[in-house]
Symmetry: D2
Subunit: 346 residues, 4 copies
C-alpha cells in the first residue's frame, strides 16, 4: 500500500479544482479502504467545481470530491463484520445518522443528519477512498467497473421511475441528462407502453432514442404540450418523471399530466417557481412525489436486478471514459451536455 | 304537487340573486323529483352570488343555484330502478359522463365531462329539485335533514383527510372554514394524535377547538412555523390538510411539513403561486395529492359510517338554520366567516 | 339480418352440448346486438360441457354458452348512447348490479349480484349475441378478431399479474394453461427479472418458454422447491401467481415464496385444502390476494395498452382456430392440455 | 452493582422453571445493562414454561426467559453512542442480522437470521438484563413501568391492526387475549366504526367491552356467523384481525369477511389447517397479510403516539402485578385466561 495517491482536490473556496498528491486515507473503525477502479462525474461535482452558491454554502475546502465509484476492498477497519479484502463494492453515498425519525422509519434517504461522501467528507476522485462498511454494496466480481460506478445515479433514476407503477402507462421524462436517460430505459423495462423524452441537447435526445424512448421532443423546436396532447388522444400522460429542474419543463410537464396522474420530481429548480396549483394539482387530482437519493437498500436491490438481468443496458449511457488526470475535460463535457455519463479511471 | 315553487335564482350575469317563483321542474327519464327538506350554502354559492371571475366564466343565468341538500323523493322518472317515493336522499352533485378514461377507471371524481348541480344545471335552493337516480344517496329516514344536507361538503373533508392514514400521526389543517372544521373532526376520529388548526377568524378557531383540535393558531397573532416546530420537537407535522387556498397558509403548511410527509390540497388558490419545490417537495421527499370532489361512492360510505356511528358530530359545525327566504343573510354570514355551516330551510 | 343462427347449445342437464339452429336474439333496451367474429373457449366452458358439480349447480339448460368474443355491432337497442353500428367490440362478461357495496366502491369485479354471459344468460358460441352497451369494450377496427376475443381471459391474467409490482422481481407462475401463459408474458413485459413457470403438460411448458419464461419446470420430473430455492440463492421468489388451483402447486408455491413475498391466487381449488398458515403466511409476513374477474375498466385499459404496444404478443398462445362446428374438437384439446387458446370462428 | 441477582430460569429441558440466584450479566460492546423495573408475561413464555414441542425444538436450557420489559440503563458497553446511564428504555426483542435481503429492504421484522431475547439468548425475568443499544427504545421518564413493559406486545397489536386502514370500517377481532384486547382498543382509536370481539373466556370478553368493543360474542354461546352477518346487513366485516390461531375462529372469521375485505393474521395455528381458499379468498377477492413481530421502528412510533396521547389506555388490560417470585402464579393466570396482561416486578 503506498503512502500517497493522486486525487482531484478542491483546494480553495473558488471555481476550479486540481490534481494533487495527497496521503492515502487511514481506515477508521467500521470503515473499509477501497482502491478506486472507476469513478463517475455527477452534476453535483459540476456544482462543486464551478463553485455555485449551493457549493459555496456547503463545501469546506480543501476537499477531495466525487462520490460515484466502483472499487476493491484493500483494508478492513476494526469492527467490520461482513466484507473481506478483495470484495468489489460500490457505496450508498448518503451516510445517515441511524437514529432520527426518518432513519428509524424506513426513510433513511431523507435522514435529518446526513453526511454525503465527496460533499461533506472526502470523496473518491482519487486512487483510494474510505467508506463505512454499512454503506458498502457488494458488486459481482465480473461487473464492469464503469457500470458498477454508475449504479449510484442509476439508483436515483430507479427511485424516481419506480416510485409508481409504470406498466401499461404513458410516461414523460423531462430532461434527458444521464439520470433522465436511465429513467427512459427503466420506464421501458418496467413495461411503460409509451415513453416520451424531452431535452434541448440533440446529442442527448439521440441517446434517449437509443435507450428506447418511443418519442423524443426538443422543446426548442416543437411545442411539447401540443405534441403530447396529440399522441395521447387528448388525455395526457399517466406519469411525469421530472429530471430537469427547469421551470418551463416543469410547467409543460404538469400541463400534459393527465387528470389523476402521477408526477415524481427529481430535478432541482435553482429557486422557487410559480406553479398553477389549482389547475395542475388540485382540480387534476394529481399526486406529486419529491425524490431524494435512493431508498436504502430497496432501490439498490432493484438496480441490481435491472442491470444483472439485462433489463436495462447502461452501456450506451456511458459515453466517455477518461483517465482521472483528464477530469477537467470530463467536467467540460458535462457542462455542455455533449455526453451521457463520464467515467474517470484513476 | 304544486305547479310552482319558491327558488333562489341568479337572474342575470351580475352580483346578487333573488327569491323567485318558478315552475316546479319536470322529472325526466332516470331522474327523481325531490322535495327539498334542507339545503346548505357552499363557498361555491358565494362565488356565484358575488359573480367573481370564475362564476362569470362558467355559470349561465338564469339559474337556480345551490347543490347541497337533503330531500324526499316525490316522483320517479321513467326507467328508475331502485329508489321509491318517500325515500330520503342526498346527492353526489357531480354528474359524470361515465365513459371517459377517468370515469372508467375508478376516478369519477375527476370526470373529464362533468356537469355540476347548481352550477351547470338547476340546483336546490328551491322547494323542489331533480337529480339523476344514479346520483342519489339514500339517507336513513331518521337522519336530521340539516346533517343529511351537509354530507356533500363533509365528503370533501373525508376525501381530503382520509386520502392518507392519519392514525398515530400529527396533522395540520390550514383553514378552518366549514370543510376545515369537518377535517379537524375527521382527523381526530381517524386517530390522529395531534391535530392543529390554523385560521384567522376567531369564531372559527373556537369551533376548531370544539371539534377536537389539540392546538389552534391564529396566524395573525402567532408565528405558525415557530409554534408548530416547537410542538413537534422540531420534526414538523406528518400530514398537511390544506383547506384555505391562501398562499401564506400553503407556504407555512409546506414549511412545517416533516421530511417524508404528506400534503392533501383541497383549497383552491385564486391564481398561480410561488412554491419552493426544491426545499418543500423534492429534498423533503414529500407526497402531495390534489383533491377534487368525493370518490364515488367510497367517500360516501366513509361519510355515512363516520356520521352514523357518532365518530364525528357535525352538530357544532351547523351554526345557523335560516328560512330559504333569508338566503342573503346566509351568504353574508359566509362572507364574514362568522359561522360554521349555514343551512337553509325551504 | 337473418331470423335464425347456428349456436352451441347445452340442451339438457347432462354432459355434452350440440350445434343447433336457434332464433337470433332480440336486442333489448340498452343492449347491442353483435355479429360474433371470433369466440374462444374458456375452462369454464369445459366445466359446462362436462357438466361438473359446479356447472350442475349453476347452469340452467337450455343455454347457449361461451363468453369470450370479438364482434361487430349490427343493431342498437333503445337507450344506447355511445356505440354505433359497425363498431368492433368485446365485452366484460360480468354483468353487475351497480348498486351493491362492492359495485359502489370500485370493486365491481366482486359484485354481490353478478350475472355472467354464457353462464347465467345466453352466451356467444353463436353467430349473434346481445350484450349490455355498458359492458362493451370498443376494439380498434384493425385488431385481429382472435386477439380481440382473448382479451377477456388476458384480463384475468392482467388482473392477477399486475395486482402487485413486478419490476425487478422474481416471479413464479404455477400452472401454464392459457391464462398462466399470458401471465408469463405479462410478467416479462412488466419488468420481472426472473420468471419461472411450472406445468405438467410439456406442450404448455414449451409455450411458457416461448412467452419468455426464464425457467420452466415440470413438477412431475423435477423437485420444484429444490430447483427454485437454488436459483434464488435460497431466498425464494418475490411473487407467486397461482393459476392452477392444484393443491400440490399451491403448497409448493407458498413453500418457495420468500419471507415478505406476495401471492395472487386465480386458480380455483375444487375443494378446501390444507394450508400451513403459520409457516406459509404468518411467520413469512406474506401478503395473499384472491383474484376474481377483471377490474372494470382498469384491467381493460392495461390489457389494451399491453396488446396495442406489442409489449405482450398473444399470437403464440392462440394455437388453434376452428370453425364453430368443430367446438367439440376444441373442448377435447382443452381437456388434454395439448393447446394454448382455442378460438372458434362462427 | 451487585454480583448476583434473582432470575427465573428454565434449568432443564422439561416443563417448569425456577427462581434462582445467578450472576448479573456482563455488558458487552454495543450493549447496555438494564435494571429491570417491570417485565410482563407473553404467551411465548407460557410455551417455554410448559415445554411444548415448539419450545423443546428451539430453546436451549439453562435460560433466563422473558422478553417484555421496562428498565433503567445502569451501564454502557463499549462503543455505545446515544444512550446514557439513567435512561429509561424498553427493547425491540428481535435482534436482527442487518444484512439479509429482508433487513436491507425495510422488513427487519422478518429477518432471516433473527435471535430473540428470552428465547435464543438470556431474557429479562430477572433483576438485570443486557440488550444491544440498537434495540433499545427510549421511554419518557414518567411512563409507568408496567405500561412501558407492555409496549412490545402492544406493538404486535399495532402492527396487526394498523396494517390496513380501519377508519370508517367494521372490524372483527377473533381472540381477546392481551394482544386481541389491545387490538380492540387500537381499532377504536383508529376510527373503526364497528368493532366486534370474539372470545371464549367471559373474563376477557368483559375486558373487550371495557376496551371499547361495540359487540362481543362468545362462540360457545352464540353463532358467530349468524350474529355478524345480521349486524353488518348481510355484507360481512371489512376487516378481520385474527389473534387466536384457533381453526374454528379462523374459519368463522373468513366466513364473515366481506367480499373485497382484508384479513391480518397474527394468531399461530399449532398445525396446518383446512381452508376453503376458493370461497374464502379467491372468489371473495380478499387480501390476507401474515403478521410477525413489529415493524422496526414504524410500529414503535405508532405505539408511542397512541399511548402518549391517551388514544388507547392499556390500564384495564394490565390486570395483575406480581412480585417476580410469584411468576408461577402469573403463568397459571395466563394458562386459564383469567387475566389480561400479567406484569412481574423484580
Amino acid at each position: 500500500m503506498p503512502d500517497t495517491m493522486r486525487a482531484v482536490v478542491k483546494q480553495t473556496a473558488a471555481p476550479g479544482a486540481e490534481m494533487a498528491r495527497v496521503a492515502v486515507p487511514k481506515v477508521r473503525p467500521e470503515q473499509v479502504l477501497v482502491k478506486v477502479l472507476a469513478t463517475s462525474i455527477c452534476g453535483t461535482d459540476l456544482h462543486i467545481y464551478q463553485w455555485d452558491p449551493w457549493a459555496a454554502s456547503r463545501v469546506k475546502p480543501p476537499l477531495i470530491f466525487g462520490h460515484e465509484f466502483a472499487g476493491e476492498v484493500v483494508e478492513l477497519g476494526e469492527g467490520t463484520s461482513h466484507l473481506k479484502v478483495g470484495d468489489h463494492i460500490s457505496a450508498e453515498t448518503h451516510i445517515v445518522c441511524g437514529v432520527c425519525h426518518q432513519c428509524r422509519s424506513g426513510q433513511r434517504h431523507i435522514c435529518q443528519d446526513v453526511s454525503i461522501i465527496g460533499v461533506d467528507q472526502p470523496g473518491c476522485f482519487a486512487e483510494y477512498a474510505t467508506v463505512p462498511e454499512s454503506n458498502a454494496w457488494l458488486n459481482p466480481a465480473d461487473m464492469p467497473a464503469d457500470v458498477a460506478s454508475v449504479q449510484e445515479p442509476f439508483g436515483n433514476a430507479v427511485h424516481t421511475a419506480l416510485s409508481t407503477e409504470l406498466v401499461a402507462k404513458s410516461v414523460l421524462v423531462t430532461g434527458c441528462g444521464p439520470i433522465g436517460l436511465m429513467a427512459v430505459g427503466i420506464a421501458k423495462a418496467a413495461g411503460a407502453t409509451l415513453v416520451i423524452g424531452t431535452e434541448v441537447v440533440p446529442y442527448r435526445l439521440e441517446l434517449a432514442r437509443t435507450l428506447g424512448a418511443d418519442l423524443v421532443i426538443n422543446p426548442l423546436e416543437t411545442d411539447v404540450v401540443t405534441e403530447i396532447t396529440a399522441c395521447t388522444n387528448g388525455t395526457g400522460v399517466d406519469v411525469l418523471l421530472e429530471m430537469s429542474g427547469n421551470p418551463s419543463a416543469i410547467a409543460e410537464g404538469f400541463s400534459v399530466l393527465r387528470c389523476g396522474g402521477y408526477a415524481a420530481l427529481l430535478g432541482i429548480p435553482s429557486r422557487p417557481i410559480e406553479l398553477d396549483l389549482a389547475n395542475d394539482v388540485v382540480f387534476k387530482g394529481a399526486t406529486v412525489y419529491g425524490v431524494t437519493g435512493r431508498r436504502v437498500w430497496e432501490t439498490w436491490y432493484q438496480t441490481r436486478a435491472l442491470l444483472d438481468s439485462g433489463a436495462v443496458d447502461v452501456g450506451p449511457i456511458i459515453t466517455h471514459r477518461l483517465p482521472l488526470e483528464e477530469f477537467e475535460k470530463g467536467i467540460e463535457l458535462m457542462r455542455t451536455g455533449q455526453c451521457g455519463k463520464v467515467v474517470l479511471l484513476p
